[in-house]
Symmetry: C2
Subunit: 114 residues, 2 copies
């Protein structure tokens, strides 16, 4: 079953954190670069940069920092704040899904399988 | 403060219910027509129809039914299932916001006011 609860956290204008941004943070953390993370997610480099920029602008301090040059070219790193926000976001998903479980199941029971 | 938790319910492909669709259902219920509801929401008639179609296709039975003709032209009505889904969706929002309140506040405290 593919029925899902998706949670987005908004600053009133942009989505500061959501399913795609959380997955991208995890991929950057794993791959150590935005281009490799984009490739892993089948996302264009441009789009990945865009999402990183939106996140960094939504928060008081950046969630991702990049470095230039070096033998392997530029790298990217999820900051301690980024890791903490990611962890908290995954918690919010889990808490919401479990506490509204009965209500979600009720809606899901009326959905057509896509 | 405009910081918000936004919840979308997806069938894996489309968003079956989310903030915009819930608001549109409420407007249709209030106005009795899709065109008046669209106007109330500053949304194009075309976009409102699109959202109604997506909702109706996501669920096993429609959330909105329309009637043709009559003195005042066609009208639209939210079905009993539509009202029940809307009510349940608003409950999910409330339950999630209150049960993950601490985690949400923690993320919000790091957001820049837009």
């Amino acid at each position: 079953m593919d029925f899902k609860l998706k949670i987005r956290i908004s600053n009133g204008k942009d989505t500061a954190m959501g399913p795609g941004k959380a997955q991208l943070l995890e991929a950057i953390q794993e791959c150590g670069s935005i281009s490799k993370a984009a490739k892993k997610m089948n996302m264009s480099y441009r789009r990945a940069w865009e999402l990183v920029n939106i996140m960094n602008q939504c928060f008081k301090t950046p969630l991702v920092i990049t470095s230039h040059g070096g033998i392997h070219g530029g790298g990217a790193e999820v900051t301690p704040l980024g890791l903490s926000i990611l962890h908290t976001y995954r918690n919010i998903e889990a808490i919401s899904t479990s506490s509204a479980n009965q209500e979600l199941s009720s809606i899901f029971s009326h959905l057509v399988q896509s």
